[in-house]
């Protein structure tokens, strides 16, 4: 078991694992809402739009995490609200508006980065580098996880009603718009917490892969939340170990592990897996015939001939 405990000898690796586990749990937990609400495109847009914010924050305040935090927050807000405005003030539908705005925002980020001297550290935000996790980053992760998870847990019921059928929920007095707004806020905060470790590009994978996995395994909403959190946490830790031993980028390792877990569920899920689908289903002919009264059973059995 030495190989397993060895990385934890270093104080700095312990910090990395705590951060990774927290990020994994928060993202996996939140992913259920993204998957059920079909917000994957929205989430991808928000994550990409963090980059220009980080760049502007860096240019204005240097590598101070708080400056970059607010830069990212503002950039995500501009893209999210801008897409709404664009969709409402023109014929464009929201997905097109979002796609347009976030790629433009991402391009702005790329251009800004090429003007910055210490290009390397900003590139970390694109692909993620969990080894660069500072104390402030870790506090930020704790803070955001401790706000997002209890809040969404407390609001589980109205959120469930909203996810299941927003129009009916609204007619029954659930504050659907407020909840959607809150969900967006939780999403943006979680992304900002995760961007240093996972990177803008791979963020979406950590967010939706755990929930997508549980979605194929279970028919329970609560399982999607907590199971998604669990898988996200496990995937993050396993990915970090991989990245430690083979010297690979952390974000990519985490998403690879999660992708592997997802593919197992996709193939082998007892209820919704591919193999279950392809294997001819068991016929309940005997059981079906058992419904007939004694005499009639002969007739039923004779029918196929």
């Amino acid at each position: 078991m030495d190989w397993l405990t060895e990385p934890f000898q270093h104080e700095f690796m312990r910090r990395v694992f705590v951060g990774g586990a927290l990020i994994g749990f928060t993202n996996g937990f939140l992913g259920a809402f993204v998957v059920l609400r079909r917000l994957a495109l929205m989430a991808d847009s928000l994550s990409h739009s963090l980059l220009p914010g980080l760049a502007v924050g860096f240019i204005l305040f240097g590598l101070a995490p708080m400056g970059m935090f607010f830069g990212a927050l503002v950039a995500a807000l501009i893209v999210a609200i801008g897409a709404q405005l664009l969709a409402r003030s023109s014929r464009l539908k929201e997905d097109t508006a979002l796609g347009l705005l976030y790629t433009v925002a991402f391009s702005v980020g790329v251009v800004l980065i090429s003007f910055v001297k210490v290009r390397v550290s900003l590139m970390h935000y694109t692909f993620g580098n969990i080894l660069g996790l500072s104390d402030t980053d870790l506090w930020l992760i704790w803070g955001i996880a401790l706000v997002v998870i209890p809040l969404l847990t407390a609001l589980q019921r109205p959120l469930l009603l909203t996810l299941f059928d927003p129009t009916v929920a609204m007619s029954q007095g659930v504050r659907v718009n407020f909840l959607n707004l809150l969900l967006m806020a939780a999403l943006v905060l979680t992304m900002i917490a995760s961007v240093q470790a996972i990177g803008v590009i791979m963020l979406l994978g950590l967010l939706i892969a755990p929930a997508a996995t549980v979605y194929l395994l279970s028919d329970s909403y609560a399982a999607m939340l907590w199971g998604g959190g669990g898988i996200g946490m496990f995937g993050s830790c396993a990915g970090l170990l991989l990245s430690y031993y083979f010297g690979l980028p952390s974000g990519a390792c985490i998403v690879l592990v999660l992708g592997f877990i997802f593919s197992l569920a996709y193939l082998f899920s007892p209820r919704y897996g591919l193999i279950r689908r392809l294997r001819p289903a068991r016929h309940f002919h005997e059981e079906s015939l058992a419904r007939w009264p004694e005499g009639a059973q002969d007739r039923g059995a004779a029918k196929p001939q």
Binding site: L36, A154, L155, R157, P158, L160, L161, L163, F164, D165, T167, V168, M170, S171, Q172, G173, V174, Y215, S218, D219, S220, Y221, A223, M224
Partner: protein, 272 residues
């Protein structure tokens, strides 16, 4: 059954009054100045040709559509928008059947509305869920995921959710469509059972010959209100003729074309 019965005074008849209700899509009114009164313990058929505004009226009652004019009062209280006393049963296509929930989970959702954010799910809530499941004959199916149900079973699951919600008014959009004969019979019995519990059932319906078997009151619509009241008064040859032989209104000609509304000649149900 008292956990499922309305929480208001069961002795007083609960009256739903609609006055001067106008609802429009794209500024062409689909319902004009509708007024009627119905009471709990009635089973009301909403009749009229396609495009006559049956679904529109149901959605307006459920607070899903904005009203242009009009008042809706229930039990002497004005209904402004959202209310837990009304349960709207969505049409099949509106529901995400792959949602990770079982029949029991769906019925529990009805309970959440009454519980609010924080109060915990208590024994009596679980009992209410049990009773609703039992009343809608879903006991053997309660652990099934909702897509693994037949059409009739899915409908019963939503009725059970409305029951657990302790709704007074059940708004159903074409509940009998697509059901075979035995399933229709079964739904008919269940609706009668709900009516006897003191619920008000309002359902759009297009099969005129079966109206007297299922309903005791009717509202006939064709953009305007044609008749409302007990079947003997409302469901008459004359009123049915008026409702179904008149083309539905699609706005003035130029307006109709601009919005692609061509309901005018869709009256397919000339049973009489």
């Amino acid at each position: 059954m008292n956990r499922l019965a309305p929480s208001l005074d069961p002795l007083a008849a609960h009256q739903l009054s609609v006055s001067d209700l106008t609802v429009s899509y794209h500024r062409i009114p689909a319902l004009h100045h509708i007024a009627f009164e119905v009471q709990c313990g009635q089973c009301v058929a909403l009749l009229g040709p396609n495009g006559a505004g049956k679904s529109t009226l149901l959605k307006a009652l459920a607070g899903l559509l904005p009203r242009e004019t009009g008042r809706i009062t229930f039990h002497h209280e004005e209904i402004a928008g959202a209310t837990k006393d009304f349960a709207y049963l969505p049409q099949r296509e509106q529901v995400d059947w792959d949602f990770p929930t079982t029949v029991r989970g769906l019925v529990e959702m009805g309970r959440y509305l009454r519980l609010g954010w924080w109060r915990s799910f208590r024994k009596e809530d679980a009992q209410a869920v049990d009773e609703a499941i039992e009343a809608m004959q879903l006991r053997p199916l309660e652990d099934r995921q909702i897509s693994a149900l037949s059409g009739g079973q899915q409908q019963r699951a939503f009725l059970a959710r409305a029951l657990a919600q302790q709704a007074h008014v059940f708004l159903l959009d074409e509940p009998f469509t697509g059901l075979d004969r035995p399933t229709q019979e079964n739904l008919k019995t269940l609706l009668r059972q709900l009516r006897d519990l003191g619920k008000l059932i309002i359902a759009s319906h297009h099969d005129l010959p079966s109206v007297p078997e299922i309903f005791d009151h009717a509202i006939l619509l064709n953009g305007e209100l044609i008749a409302a009241g007990p079947l003997a008064e409302s469901f008459t040859e004359h009123h049915i003729q008026t409702a179904f032989q008149t083309p539905t209104f699609a706005g003035p000609p130029h307006h109709a074309q601009a919005h692609g509304h061509h309901h005018a000649h869709e009256g397919e149900h000339h049973h009489h």
